[in-house]
């Protein structure tokens, strides 16, 4: 089983196959426009057609990939990958999205950039902090002052501003 799954083509087509089956299940449950009568084309037509085509092609790819020559092993393809920094960076992006409303543009962006620099191995803390702060402040000034775009200062800033008043 593991031997079968250790193949880029097969895993990719399996992922799409599963997605297409789930998509088809929901497509068949889509509501129809009650005012449209028995229209030949409704909200389900294209999704159902697409999912059937995707299932057919995914199965075909699964069959064809077993006959295909060449090295498509996943473990060979991912050999030497830097998983930790990539995962940490993905996590930092997710955290950035999560805390953006609370911390506001300046603080959240600064923390994201600074942590990104550190994750990728930048050890000069002063340089990291300066570049991150300079970039964020430059962008903030450009967007808010030059283009007149409103950027949320964040719940934390509003809370602290409320305390000081």
């Amino acid at each position: 089983m593991m031997y079968l799954l250790n193949n880029k083509d097969r895993v990719g087509s399996l992922l799409i196959l599963v997605f297409a089956i789930v998509y088809l299940k929901y497509a068949l449950g889509l509501p129809l426009d009650p005012t449209a009568g028995d229209d030949s084309f409704n909200a389900r037509t294209l999704p159902v057609g697409l999912s059937i085509a995707a299932i057919a092609f995914a199965l075909l790819e699964l069959i064809v990939s077993t006959r295909r020559a060449g090295d498509g092993r996943i473990n060979a393809a991912v050999q030497g990958f830097s998983w930790l920094p990539t995962l940490l960076l993905v996590l930092s992006m997710a955290v950035y999205a999560f805390v953006f409303d609370s911390l506001g543009f300046i603080l959240a962006s600064y923390l994201f950039l600074h942590s990104g620099f550190l994750i990728l191995g930048e050890r000069r803390l002063l340089l990291s902090a300066t570049v991150a702060l300079a970039l964020v402040m430059f962008l903030w000034s450009m967007l808010t002052q030059a283009f007149g775009i409103y950027l949320d200062s964040g719940d934390l800033f509003r809370f602290l501003a409320g305390l000081s008043n």
């Binding site: 998509y23 426009d33 092609f57 498509g72 997710a94 950035y96 999205a97 990728l120 930048e122």
Partner: protein, 508 residues
């Protein structure tokens, strides 16, 4: 037509639009030079800025970014043997050996002159062919458009190379399926699961940023290309002279002329694009060269450098033909442009020529202006611009990620989009690692809405019958071409044989 050209000239030469071309070319050169970031990422990064502009200015900026990024990609191919775009791979064959032999400046100059010539001849051919094709396509109906959309989807799969055809079809279908998320024309919510953030569907900008800019930056980290080192240890002093002698110009001139025409016509074919054009031109010149010159190919041949550079620029121009006349993108880049046009409220296709002559002609004229900007301003500045390659990757990559995230946020001001972008970006990385092309996904997503609208209209006109597929001659012709385009590589794939992987032709 003359009125249209005058309107286009007036629009293209307005101060704001000249500034857009300049800005686009510079920004595109900077971004395109970074290994891993191609024209699609460059355009995706710039799109949020264009939302505040009128459609003509927005598209002019994007076209400038496109040309700049192609030029930037060639620069990194020559200087550090790291083509920023797949269309510049063939450029590196002779460009890098020239740079290694101390003739980097000359190689860059030849690349710039060839690009200029390719772009210029391409722009002239565009000027001739687009109005003719636009007039022909005015007779098209919904049924024909539906067939054209199908052709657009399948052509990409067909040009993906052996072993990639089925994968490209699957990714196109995935893109088409993603396009159905949101409210359909009859007002029914599809696949929104009651989430108000999905009512308008997935934003094309979010998808293009996540699948290209974000995914490419993450792949660079994953592969640890260069580690914490700068992108290049290049020193500007090592570039050498930027001048090209008369003899050298005479040597490359025939190759430039041939490659321009070849590149333009290959570029018109949906799905073919700059990569195939550059390889074809390189192969053609090597075959045509005298025996003593053939040995120079791959070791620093001026013709070997000029041919792919000319062809990829001419093909980039050619890829605008199906976009501007039929409303179907011929490459991932023009697919992103199509998405941008739709978001400006401009419908590309034969009516663009009539309804928005200012947009239509100013974009064509701006392409020419963009070529002049690249030659006159960017080339002398290359020694300075190339210093960007010395910025450490550990600083550059988070900044690229930050700009990608900001690009999406500044359009919707919704942090849910940021989360969605991260999720889609991770899925895109998984498919990249599995060697599934992402460009067809984006193309399927962008064509999805139009494909459904035209199919709906065609069925309405034909009383729910699919007879339009064989009873309308234009539809039937396009459908036959579509089936042939799809079946030939598929049969070849199914019959097996030696595996041949083509570079991802849709990445430029």
């Amino acid at each position: 037509m003359i009125d249209g050209i005058i309107t286009g000239l007036y629009t293209a030469f307005s101060p704001i639009n000249l500034m857009m071309v300049l800005l686009g070319c510079f920004a595109g050169t900077f971004i395109g030079m970074l290994p891993g970031l191609g024209p699609v990422s460059a355009i995706a990064l710039m799109i949020p800025i264009t939302y505040g502009l009128d459609p003509a200015s927005g598209l002019i900026l994007i076209a400038g970014v496109y040309y700049g990024a192609v030029f930037g990609g060639s620069t990194s191919a020559i200087l550090i043997n790291a083509p920023g775009v797949s269309g510049a791979v063939a450029t590196a064959f002779d460009g890098y050996p020239l740079a290694q032999s101390g003739r980097a400046g000359k190689a860059l100059a030849i690349a710039a002159y060839s690009s200029f010539a390719g772009g210029t001849i391409g722009a002239v051919l565009l000027l001739v062919f687009v109005p003719i094709l636009a007039k022909v396509s005015l007779s098209f109906q919904s049924a024909d458009y539906f067939a054209l959309m199908l052709f657009g989807c399948t052509a990409i799969a067909a040009f993906s190379g052996k072993g990639q055809v089925l994968k490209a079809i699957l990714m196109t279908l995935l893109g088409l399926m993603l396009a159905t998320v949101g409210e359909d024309p009859s007002g029914i919510q599809r696949f929104t699961f009651g989430n108000a953030d999905l009512y308008d569907g997935i934003s094309f900008l979010l998808l293009s940023m996540a699948t290209f800019a974000l995914a490419e930056a993450l792949i660079v980290i994953l592969k640890n290309a260069g580690g914490s080192a700068p992108a290049s240890n290049l020193h500007s002093s090592s570039l050498g002279s930027l001048s090209v002698s008369r003899e050298e110009r005479n040597d490359i001139a025939p190759a430039v002329a041939r490659s321009s025409i070849l590149g333009f016509f290959v570029g018109i074919l949906p799905g073919a694009g700059a990569t195939i054009a550059s390889f074809l031109a390189y192969g053609m010149e090597r075959n045509l060269a005298p025996d003593d010159k053939q040995d120079e190919f791959g070791r620093g041949s001026y013709r070997g450098l000029a041919a792919p550079e000319t062809a990829n620029n001419a093909a980039s121009t050619g890829s605008f033909v199906p976009l501007l006349t039929l409303g179907i993108p011929g490459s991932a880049t023009t697919a992103v442009m199509l998405g941008a046009l739709l978001s400006y409220g401009v419908q590309p296709g034969p009516r663009l020529y009539i309804d928005n002559p200012a947009v239509f002609w100013s974009v064509i004229i701006s392409m020419y202006v963009g070529n002049i900007v690249l030659l006159v301003l960017n080339l002398p500045l290359i020694p300075y611009i190339s210093k960007l390659l010395r910025v450490p990757r550990q600083l550059l990559t988070p900044i690229i990620l930050f700009f990608s995230l900001m690009g999406v946020y500044l359009v919707s001001f919704n942090t849910v989009d940021l989360t969605m972008m991260v999720v889609i970006g991770v899925i895109a990385v998984v498919f990249r690692v599995l060697d599934y092309p992402l460009a067809p996904l984006l193309l399927g997503f962008i064509l999805g809405g139009m494909l459904e609208d035209n199919l709906r209209r065609a069925l309405l006109i034909w009383d729910g019958s699919f007879a339009f597929l064989w009873q309308r001659p234009i539809t039937l012709t396009i459908m036959i071409i579509t089936l042939l385009t799809l079946m030939v590589p598929m049969v070849s794939t199914l019959r097996g044989g030696r595996r041949f992987r083509h570079p991802d032709t849709m990445s430029e």
